[in-house]
């Protein structure tokens, strides 16, 4: 499975970014192979609105099965859910730690957005 982890860096030691739609980058990790590549999210970082929706659409095209992030708002969550992508929130310090927690089954998928939208 492919999983996406929000981050500001480019490797497994990079910090986990708590934002979903406005995370600077996504580290796309292949759980079967243990390899990864990094997707830039700069376009959404500066979007006036709809950053979460566009980020979700992007990860849908990337065909990831799961997103690990700090917080996920209602529009992003709805879009990810419609694309059958599970969302796990996690307070790990680094991307690598988050992946280890995911592999050990310590991360639970959220059933609804865990933060309010920015228009609320």
């Amino acid at each position: 499975m492919k999983i996406a982890i929000t981050t500001s860096g480019s490797d497994l030691d990079a910090p986990l970014d708590s934002r979903f739609g406005r995370a600077p980058k996504f580290l796309i990790y292949y759980t079967d192979l243990g390899t990864y590549h990094v997707q830039n999210n700069e376009q959404n970082l500066n979007a006036t609105q709809g950053a979460g929706i566009q980020a979700a659409l992007h990860l849908c095209k990337e065909k990831v099965g799961c997103v690990i992030t700090g917080n996920c708002g209602p529009k992003a969550y709805e879009t990810l859910k419609a694309a059958d992508i599970t969302v796990c929130t996690c307070a790990a310090a680094t991307v690598g730690e988050a992946i280890e927690m995911f592999k050990r089954g310590e991360l639970e998928a959220i059933e609804e957005a865990n933060v309010e939208g920015h228009w609320a």
């Binding site: 609105q49 709809g50 979700a56 659409l57 879009t79």
Partner: protein, 283 residues
């Protein structure tokens, strides 16, 4: 003639001046309160409201039976208000700017635009002063459609005064864009001057003739005078800093109730603004 009474900074006295102008000018006049997020000129005009009109905006609705998931709608939308995830297309109507692009580009006709209620217009008069105020519904995020609906009530002939929303972003631009001239209300504080500069830059881009009015004028006013002089901007009105004005304001009374001598200066403003040309405001 349509005159925008605008400012960068909020709370400088747009409504104070617009309402006092409405009662001071000669001939037919209509005041449009376009500060639709917090309309308050009715406190000063005290109109009798004759009727109310609902304001709607158009948003997409998707017929899932006709949608093929081609994604054209999501590609044309500049605001992420509609996305296609292959098998499912979703609309986020609070992000929609009602451009209608998604409905037009949909090859199967799966998208229809429907009306969403977003605000109300209150229409009335006080004596010879005609009054229209736009009011945005609680929970709505976008005011320009309600501002445009309010502006459609401008007089064909005679004078229309537009009490504008503060700032220099979309609501401000929407309110001032169709006007013949603008009066920028400021105050002699660093904040007043800072935001006046932003409003001036915006109006220059829009190519609108404008002049400045200073409210709460006091010994600090030099900073405004110097700026207007350097930028060749006419300063057409000064309202003195006077406790009686603040007291009248807090009672919902018109400025000229306590400063009747201001009436003449307010009455000639339309004429003086009409005489301005765009060239006059170039730096």
């Amino acid at each position: 003639m349509k005159i925008a009474i605008a400012s960068g900074k909020g709370g400088t006295g747009k409504t104070t001046i617009a309402s006092a102008m409405a009662f001071s000018v000669r001939g037919p006049v209509r005041l449009l309160d376009c500060d639709v997020e917090e309309p308050n000129s009715h406190f000063f005009i005290q109109p009798e409201i004759q009727r109310k009109e609902k304001v709607y905006s158009l948003v997409p609705t998707i017929d899932e039976a006709l949608c093929t998931g081609c994604g054209e709608c999501g590609r044309v939308c500049q605001f992420s208000a509609i996305v296609s995830l292959g098998k499912k297309t979703m609309a986020f109507n609070e992000l929609c700017h009602s451009c209608g692009g998604c409905a037009r580009i949909c090859p199967t006709g799966a998208i229809t635009e429907i009306q969403k209620e977003i605000g109300t217009l209150e229409i009335g008069a006080h004596g010879d002063v005609e009054f229209v105020a736009g009011r945005m519904d609680v929970g709505q995020a976008m005011s320009p459609p309600i501002i445009r609906a309010t502006l459609r009530h401008a007089r064909e002939e005679g004078l229309t005064l537009i009490d504008c929303p503060p700032g220099t972003s979309c609501p401000f631009v929407t309110a001032v864009k169709g006007c013949d001239a603008a009066l920028l209300v400021t105050e002699p504080t660093p904040f007043g001057l800072h935001d006046l500069k932003l409003a001036v830059e915006t109006l220059r881009v829009l190519g609108l003739p404008f002049a400045v009015a200073v409210n709460r004028s006091n010994e600090e006013q030099n900073r405004i005078n110097e700026y207007c002089h350097e930028e060749n901007i006419p300063l057409l009105l000064q309202i003195p800093e006077d406790r009686r004005v603040a007291e009248a304001y807090s009672r919902g009374e018109i400025l000229t109730a306590v400063l009747p001598e201001m009436r003449a200066a307010l009455a000639v403003l339309p004429e003086r603004l009409a005489a301005l040309s765009i060239e006059r405001n170039l730096p």
